[in-house]
Amino acid sequence: MTTPDAADYEAFVAARIAALSRTAYLLTGNHHDAEDLVQTTLFKAARSWHRITGEPEPYVRRIMYNENVSRWRRRRVAEFATSRLPEQPAADADVDTRLELQRALQTLTPRQRTMLVLRFFEDLTEERTAAAMGLSVSTVKSETRRALARLGQRFPELERSPARDG
C-alpha cells in the first residue's frame, strides 16, 4: 500500500529527476558521479520526507549541494583541484565549447563549482546562494570572483564575452 507521503515523493521524483540530474552533472562533471549524487540525494530526501513542509524542491536541492561538498571533503585526500587539465578525451579532435567548459569546471573546487552552478545555472542571487551553501555573502562573492577568474584562464571564450553582473 502506498502512503500519501510515498505517493508525494514518487510524484516529485518523476517530475524533477531530470532537472536534478542536470544539476548533478554540472556539479560532479561526469555521468557516473552525477547518477550517484542523484540517488544519494533522493535517498536522504526520502529519509527526511516527513520533516519537509511545503515545496520539497528547495530542500532536495540543498541536500544535493551539501552532499556534493561532503563527498568532496570525504575524498579530498585522494582528489584535489589541480592547475593541470584532466586527461584529454580520447580521439576527440574537434573539442567544442561544452567540453572545454566541462574541462575548465574540473579545475575548480567542488565548492566553487557549486557556487557557479547555483549562481549561473540555477540563477540564484548571491544572498540565496550563500544561504543555500551555509556561507556568508562575502565568501560567495570572493569565491565566485576567484572561480570566474580561474575559469577565464581555462576557458578564454568567457573573457571575450560581454561581462554582466549576476
Binding site: A6, Y9, E10, V13, A14, I17, A18, L20, S21, R22, T23, A24, Y25, L26, H31, A34, E35, V38, Q39, L42, F43, K44, A46, R47, S48, H50, R51, I52, G54, P58, Y59, R61, R62, I63, N66, T97, R98, L101, L105, L116, F120, F121, L124, E127, R128, A131, A132, G134, L148, G152, F155, E157, L158, E159, S161, P162, A163, R164, D165, G166
Partner: protein
C-alpha cells in the same frame, strides 16, 4: 562573460543522463529512518542509564539500605576486640538508620562533623565495631542531649537521655533509652517525674543494669530539687527508683554497682548506698601537689571488676592547652570486697589512697581492664604531652606499680572525641583493624557530572548550530543564525 557562462552551463547540462529512479528507494529510506530512530533512542537510553548507574555507583555507598533491625547477632564473642587505632568516620559515613545496627561496639565516639546535608554538619555519635572495626553513625531516636550517651562495658548497648515536646513546643528531657547495637532495637523509658534535670547515665560493670541519675523539682528552685536514681534491669526491662541523699552536681562522674554508687567530683569522693540512697562514705581528698593548689575537675571514676577498688582521675587545668591537663590518677582501696560497703552501720575500714602517676595528661579514665589495670585516654609524659604531634593513646596502667602499656593510638581531630570503650572486651588482645572508610564527597561527584552535562550541552549546542547552518531542510533563502 556571465551570460556566456549561463548559456554554456545550460548547454552542458543538456548532456546529462537522466538518472533512473530506483524502485525501492522510498522503502529503504524509511527503513533507514526507523533504524536511526531506534538507534538514537537506544543510544540516548544507554547514555542516560550509564550516567545514572555511574552516579549511583559513585554516590550510593552511603545510601545502601539495610534493615534497621536484626534479630540474629552475627559474631562470636571471643572474636570481639578493640582496635589498635581509633579515628573518626568520614562525614559521609552511613548511619544505623540506613545500614542497620553495627553489632557490638568497641568504641563509642562523638563528632561534630557528620554531614546531614550538602551544606550542614551536625553533632553525632558513632561506633567502631568490635567485630570488624568498621565505623558507623548511630541514629539514636529522640536523642535529647549530646555528650551524655554511654556505652555498656560489653559494647552491646548505648544509653542516652530522650526528649519530648511539651504543649508549649519546648523540648524537655522525659526519660532515657537503651539502643541495642546488635538488634537495632531501642527501648525507651519514661521517667514518671516532671521537670527532670538529667545528670548521669552509668552502666554497671556487668552491663546488666543501667543507672540514670537525675534531679527533679522546680527548675528555677535548685534547693527544692531532689536527686534520684532510676536503676534499670536490662534483661527484665524493670526499673527501680530511689531518692538520693546526695546532691548530684554538674560535672560529677559516677561509677555504679549494686554495692555502692561512687560519685567523684574532685576533690570529693562519695559512695552512696544504691538500695537506700544514703551516704556510705564521704571522703574529701587533699588536692595533690601536682596540681599546684589548683582546683581539679573530675576525669572519671570507676569501680574495679572485683568492686574492691575505685580509680579516679583528677584533671588540673594547664595554661598550655585546653586538653593538656596535669593529672592525678588515684585509686581508693575501699577496704575489701563490696560487701563491706553495704549498710551504713558498717565501718569502711581505713581507706588507702594511692596516687598513680607519672601520667602527665589523662584526658579521661575509661575504666578497668582487669582488677589491677586501669584504662585511660592520655599522653604518658609531660615531655610528650607538650608536643603537638604526639598522638594520644589508650593506655593500660598498673595501679599498683605505675607501669603502663600503650594499647591503641587515638588519631582524632579537634571535633571528635571518645565517649567510652567496651571495657569488658579490653582484656582481649587489641587488633589492628582497617581504618574508617574513605567516602567520596558526593558533591564533587555531582559537580563533575554537572560539568560534564554542561560541557556536553555546550558542545551539542555548538554542533547543532553549526549543522543547522547547513541543514538541508532549512529552506534556501533563509539566513543562518
Amino acid at each position: 562573460m556571465t551570460e556566456l557562462l549561463r548559456q554554456s552551463l545550460s548547454d552542458l547540462a543538456e548532456d546529462a543522463t537522466v538518472a533512473t529512479p530506483r524502485a525501492n528507494t522510498w522503502a529503504d529510506a524509511r527503513r533507514s529512518h526507523r533504524r536511526r530512530l531506534v538507534g538514537g533512542i537506544a543510544a540516548s537510553t544507554a547514555a542516560v542509564l550509564a550516567v545514572v548507574t555511574g552516579s549511583i555507583a559513585l554516590v550510593a555507598p552511603s545510601m545502601r539500605q539495610n534493615s534497621g533491625v536484626t534479630d540474629q547477632p552475627a559474631y562470636v564473642i571471643g572474636d570481639l576486640a578493640l582496635p589498635t587505632n581509633v579515628s573518626q568516620p568520614s562525614p559521609w559515613e552511613s548511619g544505623t538508620a540506613d545500614a542497620g545496627p553495627p553489632g557490638p561496639l568497641a568504641v563509642l565516639g562523638e563528632t561534630l562533623d557528620r554531614r546531614t546535608s550538602w551544606f550542614h554538619t551536625s553533632d553525632a555519635y558513632y561506633g567502631i565495631s568490635a567485630v570488624d572495626g568498621s565505623y558507623r553513625y548511630l541514629d539514636l531516636p529522640h536523642l535529647a542531649l549530646n555528650g551524655t550517651a554511654v556505652l555498656s562495658p560489653d559494647g552491646t548497648h548505648v544509653a542516652y537521655w530522650t526528649q519530648s515536646k511539651t504543649s508549649t513546643e519546648q523540648t524537655t528531657v522525659d526519660g532515657y533509652a537503651v539502643y541495642d547495637t546488635t538488634s537495632g532495637k531501642t527501648a525507651t523509658h519514661t521517667i514518671a517525674d516532671r521537670d527532670v534535670v538529667p545528670r548521669l547515665l552509668v552502666w554497671a560493670p556487668g552491663s546488666n543494669e543501667l543507672m540514670a541519675a537525675y534531679r527533679v523539682g522546680p527548675l528555677d528552685d535548685r534547693e527544692a530539687q531532689v536527686g534520684k536514681t532510676d536503676v534499670l534491669d536490662v534483661a527484665t526491662d524493670q526499673s527501680t527508683v530511689v531518692a538520693l541523699r546526695h546532691d548530684v552536681q554538674p560535672g560529677e562522674s559516677a561509677s555504679w554497682s549494686a554495692n555502692g554508687i561512687a560519685f567523684w567530683r574532685a576533690p570529693k569522693l562519695t559512695v552512696i548506698d544504691p538500695q537506700t540512697g544514703g551516704v556510705l562514705m564521704d571522703l574529701g581528698l587533699t588536692p595533690t601537689p601536682v596540681g599546684g593548689g589548683k582546683q581539679p575537675r573530675s576525669g572519671g571514676v570507676a569501680w574495679s571488676p572485683d568492686l574492691s577498688t575505685l580509680a579516679f582521675a583528677a584533671l588540673y587545668p594547664k595554661s598550655s592547652g585546653p586538653l593538656l591537663q596535669e593529672t592525678s590518677l588515684g585509686t581508693f582501696h575501699a577496704g575489701g570486697v563490696g560487701a563491706q560497703l553495704q549498710g551504713r552501720d558498717r565501718p569502711l575500714g581505713p581507706p588507702i589512697i594511692r596516687r598513680v602517676t607519672p601520667f602527665a595528661a589523662v584526658y579521661h579514665l575509661l575504666g578497668w581492664r582487669d582488677d589491677t589495670h586501669a584504662l585511660v585516654l592520655g599522653v604518658p609524659t609531660a615531655a610528650q604531652a607538650v608536643r603537638a604531634d604526639v598522638v594520644p593513646g589508650i593506655y593500660s596502667i598498673n595501679v599498683e606499680t605505675g607501669d603502663y602499656e600503650r594499647l591503641a593510638s587515638v588519631s582524632l581531630n579537634d571535633s571528635a572525641w571518645i565517649r567510652g570503650i567496651a571495657t569488658s572486651v579490653s582484656d582481649h588482645p587489641f587488633v589492628n583493624r582497617p581504618g574508617p572508610t574513605s567516602h567520596r564527597d558526593p558533591r564533587t561527584v555531582w559537580a563533575v557530572i554537572a560539568m560534564v552535562v554542561l560541557l556536553s550541552a555546550t558542545v551539542l549546542f555548538v554542533v547543532l548550530r553549526s549543522r543547522r547552518s547547513k541543514d538541508p531542510l532549512r529552506p534556501i533563502g533563509t539566513t543562518p543564525t
